[in-house]
């Protein structure tokens, strides 16, 4: 090739900043990236810097093509896909690394800066923590500084570039704020692209196998937060309905995939006052939406629906934090009309499994006389006989319900719900198991309720003739404190099997609550600023019936006003100092002469030169010059007036 491959060191002023911009934008991706990509980027960055420093030649096109192919195949092998945020950011990082190896002109550096902007954006798609915003501002500032260091001619000092970048960014902040507030939000995505949230998602298990080796989550991770419009309901009313399990195969309870059932809503009859609340749900990668029993209205329009067992779900998996509003009625009756076909289906059990349980149920039913008395008798049994609440029960082998009821008698909500349901189904009483959360902790600072993964719970619903589905929580019979005060404290105060941690101190508790309150506000108001919140905000601002047209119009008007204000500030910054009147009048005279005063030339010398040209009458030249000197250095009004007249006479 005829083109020179050597570098001339001309990028030495800007390259370190371009590298810094790439570093800050890639850093948030590093925990997600395969280590070889980070290593490849660092190697390329170092290599490129040395090349520029020592004015070496750039690697040959063949070598670059080979590297590019290798890296692309590497990404494909690591992710087995190239769409989505994970592979996307990996590819962007690789592109930046390889682009560095062929960067020789400013144009290439623009490409690098555009790449780093995309990297900043993809980091935001993945993580939206409180500190993500300040970090983003810093990243943008570094990118802008790098940008300002690229011009062809003279280059500002790094400090000047940084100051200019900061100033321009400061002007842009109010503009961004206005656009952010007023840009109309829509709720439906155009197309679904998976977001790599592998670290963040935590959902409920969609089946339940009490008796397998299992232990309940003690994770403190937040499942969702709830802000109630009114007072927070009592702990024993805080049953957050999730999914419903209806079939049992002797070991495992399972339910159905989320599906729309238009009739489910109609089975609900409500009375009393509703509870309105807003839920901020952390990503679960599942479709279930949680709500207090019994939800009747909810957000998302047709995007969300109710399943046949009154479970709420969304059409697409929840892979980002979402906010929705629900109205629930604590007083409700549901499914009072249940056809006999369904009655049989809800009391179905596999043949020949857990025979001792079935025998016990039949005996107790005979003794009780009625279904209701039988249910009470079962609850009494669980309460009075030595059953223990523990989070690490022994495994149960085959016929797990038999073994649990007659041998081990240790378990948590799943064991009790399962055993209870099997007992009831054995005598033909329709039952179903609800998985969800129970309880939650009130944050005294934020006033909201925090529901954690450790609040996951399983309870049962029993169908009675005339009353419909009634919630019965067998765990409450065994360990009432689980329902009253929550899992962790139930374990601590209850059986006391020597857990390896003590209750956190008050101070830690308070700090944790404060941090949680801040995060809750952040989630609700910043991350969750969606169609509903925006609508509410517009109304609060006094906009009647906000529409996207009105919002866009307001946005344009405010942006234009702000730009005019910024323009004024800039005008002031760049204004030349006010010339005094004498200087202005004299300038008119100078223009008229057609000559240009030389540097250091006095007015009198200049007058002599003007006289030589004969462009103006001698008397005028003298009059103006004398008046100007007097006005300039004496400064009295009389001299100024003379100057005014002399200049006027000239024209």
């Amino acid at each position: 090739m005829a083109r020179p491959r050597g570098t001339d060191g001309s990028l030495l002023a800007s390259l370190p900043w371009t590298l810094a911009a790439l570093f800050v934008s890639i850093a948030p991706h590093v925990p997600y990236l395969p280590p070889w990509i980070t290593a490849a980027f660092l190697a390329c960055a170092g290599w490129r810097y040395v090349i520029e420093r020592q004015r070496r030649a750039l690697p040959s096109p063949w070598l670059r093509a080979a590297l590019a192919l290798g890296c692309f195949l590497g990404v494909l092998a690591t992710y087995s896909s190239i769409s989505g945020v994970g592979p996307g950011s990996a590819l962007l990082t690789i592109m930046a690394a390889l682009k560095l190896l062929e960067t020789r002109r400013r144009r290439d550096q623009f490409v690098l800066l555009f790449l780093s902007i995309f990297l900043v954006m993809s980091a935001l798609l993945r993580e939206q923590y409180l500190w993500s915003v300040p970090y983003m501002l810093v990243s943008v500032l570094v990118i802008m500084t790098a940008w300002l260091r690229m011009p062809a001619g003279e280059v500002q000092t790094a400090r000047q570039s940084f100051a200019t970048g900061t100033r321009l960014l400061a002007y842009a902040v109010p503009l961004a704020l206005v656009m952010w507030l007023f840009f109309p939000r829509i709720s439906t995505p155009f197309w679904a692209v998976p977001i790599d949230t592998s670290r963040a998602a935590a959902g409920l298990s969609e089946t339940m196998s009490p008796g397998d080796i299992s232990s309940l989550s003690m994770s403190d991770a937040v499942a969702f937060r709830v802000s109630f419009d009114g007072p927070v309901p009592h702990p024993r009313d805080r049953y957050w309905r999730g999914l419903v399990l209806t079939q049992f195969n002797g070991r495992t309870w399972s339910g159905r995939e989320p599906g729309r059932d238009p009739g489910a809503r109609d089975q609900i009859e409500v009375s009393g006052d509703p509870i309105d609340y807003t839920i901020t749900l952390e990503p679960t990668r599942q479709q279930w939406l949680f709500a207090l029993d019994m939800p009747t209205e909810w957000s998302f329009g047709r995007e969300a629906f109710m399943g046949p067992q009154q479970q709420l779900a969304r059409a697409t998996p929840i892979d980002q934090r979402i906010i929705y509003r629900v109205r629930s009625y604590p007083d409700f009756r549901v499914g009072t009309e249940l056809r006999s076909l369904y009655r049989r289906w809800y009391s179905g059990l596999p043949e020949d499994s857990n025979p001792r349980t079935a025998d016990l149920a039949r005996q107790m039913r005979l003794a009780a006389g009625s279904d209701r008395a039988f249910v009470d008798a079962v609850l009494d049994m669980l309460h009075e006989q030595p059953f223990f609440y523990t989070l690490e029960p022994p495994p149960l082998g085959s016929n797990p319900v038999d073994r649990f009821l007659f041998d081990t008698r240790r378990g948590f909500c799943e064991h009790y719900a399962s055993a209870f349901s099997v007992l009831l189904r054995s005598v033909g009483i329709p039952t179903r198991i609800v998985l969800g959360y129970q309880g939650g902790e009130i944050n005294p600072l934020g006033g909201h309720l925090i529901v954690r993964q450790s609040d996951a719970h399983a309870w049962t619903e029993v169908w009675f003739e005339g009353a419909g589905w009634v919630r019965v929580d067998p765990t409450a019979a065994v360990a009432p404190e689980r329902v009253e005060i929550g899992t962790r404290d139930a374990v601590l105060e209850g059986v006391g099997e020597g857990w390896g941690f003590s209750a956190p101190s008050r101070l830690v508790q308070q700090v944790t609550m404060a941090w949680d309150a801040i995060n809750a506000r952040w989630n609700e108001w910043i991350l969750g600023y969606g169609p509903d919140t925006q609508n509410a905000f517009m109304k609060w601002l006094g906009m009647h019936e906000p529409t996207w047209r009105k919002m866009l119009l307001t946005l344009v008007v405010l942006v234009v006003a702000l730009i005019m204000a910024i323009s004024l500030v800039l005008m002031f910054r760049y204004q030349p100092p006010e010339k005094d009147e004498a200087a202005r009048l004299y300038a008119r005279f100078v223009t008229r002469t057609g000559l240009q005063p030389r540097t250091g030339e006095t007015a009198r010398r200049f007058a002599r030169r003007v006289r030589a040209t004969g462009a103006l009458p001698m008397s005028t030249v003298h009059a103006v010059t004398d008046a100007y000197m007097d006005a300039r250095y004496g400064g009295d009004e009389e001299a100024r007036e003379r100057l005014r007249q002399a200049v006027r006479a000239m024209t």
Binding site: W147, I186, P189
Partner: protein, 336 residues
């Protein structure tokens, strides 16, 4: 089968022509709108034009893509980033325009050159404001100055070097002043139409015949008639100079043969006469005369110039040289 002729034989040339015509029309409009500018012009906001650059268009597309992405993911933080960048774009536009507004532009003259050489139009740009103006550049269609920054109160000279095609007055009808600061997203520029002239002397030829022999004032060939009354200076040694007049001390110092010159009543003088140069065309004659004058001036000889309509008595010095060369530059019909 013969190939079907392409209906647009030179589509690219056609488009370029269209672009050029459009540009010329815009320029004529600007010229008409602004009128002729005085020698010192302050750039007012009304005459600073601004358009996005290629980088700016890419940036615009990128922010649009980011907006779509933010809407798709309903991600409020990437909305923040997108709108921040859009805001930076708006601010950059105003900053770019303000970077030019209020600058004083003054034509600071152009030194005469010989035809074929580049005339260096010097333009002083002064920043009277309190803020630094970054990345200022002057340009014409054919030339561009270097990019310079102007600190508050600073004045800098920008040079536009334009090749002079022929002798005579060369005019620079229009030049532009532009900036890409701050991010090269926008280009702000202003057109200035000042009375800018630079003089091109006739081309300097290398193959000129030797100058006519030095004659005395009476038209005789000089032998040793140069007076010895007053020492006037040194000149290059010519064959025939008296050895008595050679500056031997200078020779010992520099190794160059120089003759002492004396100003006397009977001064010798060279006449460079247009009429004597026969058998050449006009431009060639002027070029030869120019070469002679330049050489004579370098060797500190007196010379006179005679061209139709003008005569310059023998003399030497910078102003004499300038007068003679100007006369040659502007000689003839239609060049004055």
């Amino acid at each position: 089968m013969s190939s079907i002729p392409w209906p647009f034989p030179d589509a690219r040339g056609f488009l370029a022509g269209l672009g050029r015509r459009g540009r010329d029309r815009v320029r004529r409009w600007a010229r008409k709108r602004q009128g002729a500018d005085p020698k010192t012009t302050t750039l007012s906001p009304g005459r600073v034009y601004i358009l996005p650059t290629g980088v700016g268009l890419v940036f615009g597309l990128m922010t649009f893509a980011m907006l779509l992405g933010s809407m798709n993911y309903n991600n409020n933080l990437s909305f923040v980033l997108t709108f921040l960048l859009v805001g930076v774009g708006f601010v950059a536009m105003h900053q770019c325009q303000r970077n030019l507004v209020g600058l004083d532009v003054t034509f600071a003259g152009a030194e005469p050159v010989f035809a074929g050489q580049a005339i260096r139009y010097r333009v002083a740009v002064t920043n009277h404001s309190k803020s630094t103006r970054y990345g200022i550049r002057l340009y014409t269609d054919a030339a561009g100055s270097e990019v310079q920054d102007l600190a508050p109160g600073e004045s800098r000279i920008f040079v536009l070097a334009l090749r002079s095609e022929q002798r005579g007055w060369q005019r620079l009808e229009r030049f532009g002043i532009s900036t890409l600061f701050p991010f090269e997203l926008f280009r702000a520029w202003a057109w200035l139409h000042m009375d800018m002239r630079g003089l091109a002397y006739p081309a300097l030829v290398d193959d000129a015949p030797p100058p006519p022999p030095t004659m005395t004032a009476r038209g005789h060939r000089q032998h040793d008639a140069r007076g010895e009354e007053d020492f006037a200076g040194l000149r290059r040694y010519h064959e025939g100079d008296s050895p008595r007049h050679v500056a031997w001390k200078a020779f010992a110092r520099s190794g160059q043969m120089l003759s002492k010159q004396f100003a006397g009543a009977d001064t010798s003088s060279q006449w460079f006469d247009y009429e004597q140069l026969r058998g050449m065309d006009l431009e060639r004659r002027l070029s030869v005369l120019t070469r002679w004058i330049v050489d004579a001036d370098r060797s500190l000889e007196d010379y006179g110039l005679r061209i139709p309509g003008a005569e310059f008595a023998p003399a030497h010095g910078a102003s004499h040289r300038r007068r003679c060369l100007e006369a040659l530059a502007l000689f003839g019909p239609g060049t004055a």
